[in-house]
């Protein structure tokens, strides 16, 4: 479906306001991946929609490790000498103490 510039402009406005439906967002995505002449002022949105089909939003394994680190950065060193090198939970065995258990 060919979209008018006016229509896309309205959808973009609602998109940044978080008001678009899932299918309207798909429509925008389709527009930016196929339209030939995208107005200069919308190039930032082309970049944005293009970015959704890349892996730039992915969290690295290191970032995931940090989310799951039983010993959070700083402070923990002196407080809890247990299992400093343990890393993430996924690799932990049995018998580890979780903060939850300490309460």
């Amino acid at each position: 479906m060919i979209q008018t510039k006016e229509n896309i402009g309205k959808l973009l406005e609602r998109f940044v306001q978080g008001l678009t439906t899932e299918s309207e967002e798909q429509l925008l995505s389709d527009y930016f991946s196929t339209a030939e002449a995208i107005p200069e002022e919308w190039m930032v949105f082309k970049e944005l929609f293009d970015s959704f089909s890349t892996d730039v939003y992915d969290f690295s394994e290191d970032e995931k490790d940090a989310m799951l680190a039983r010993v959070p950065p700083k402070e923990s060193q002196e407080r809890n000498s247990v299992d400093l090198g343990g890393g993430c939970l996924c690799r932990s065995g049995h018998g580890n103490r979780y903060p939850h258990d300490e309460e």
Binding site: G9, E41, F49, Y57, F59, K64, C90, Y98, H100
Partner: protein
């Protein structure tokens, strides 16, 4: 683990997480934020959840880290106050510098909070419904839309930014 399995898995965890976050944060709103961030992050690391029974412990660990981080850096979100103006007010001076391309994009995305980045990812990369994101976070769809709106505005501002 699909969305429904995940939602089922975290269903019973919320009230405990809230208690835990309150112990650290002493403020009901901050604690609610921490729990939402915890659930979003738990979604991000769901591939590490070997079995559903481990979810509870993992959630507690993530929640503690989130709470401690919140305590530590009094939040440094990207300021976007009233900065958003729609294309009708296009600025011809703002131009994309294509050559920086991906690196710049990556920097901008990393300038978002983890929660913002994860939520943008859920909606437009993983193509999840707003309603499902709300279920995962244990909040309303309109609240999710509000947060995603802020994240989009912040990212667009960053992408338009000339200071980089």
């Amino acid at each position: 683990m699909d969305i429904q399995e995940f939602i089922h898995g975290v269903e019973g965890l919320r009230s405990n997480l809230l208690k835990q976050a309150r112990n650290y944060l002493n403020d009901a709103d901050d604690a609610e934020d921490a729990v939402q961030e915890t659930l979003v992050k738990l979604w991000v690391v769901r591939d590490r959840v070997a079995e559903a029974s481990k979810m509870r412990n993992m959630a507690a660990v993530v929640c503690r880290n989130v709470s401690l981080n919140m305590l530590r850096d009094k939040r440094q979100t990207v300021s976007i106050d009233g900065a958003w103006e729609v294309a009708s007010h296009a600025n011809p001076e703002i131009q994309l510098e294509e050559r920086e391309g991906r690196q710049r994009l990556q920097r901008n995305i990393q300038a978002l909070t983890d929660k913002q980045r994860a939520m943008l990812r859920m909606r437009n990369v993983e193509n999840m419904q707003y309603a499902d994101i709300a279920k995962i976070m244990g909040t309303s769809e309109s609240s999710v839309r509000g947060m995603i709106s802020k994240a989009r505005m912040a990212l667009v501002q960053l992408m338009k930014g000339t200071e980089l």
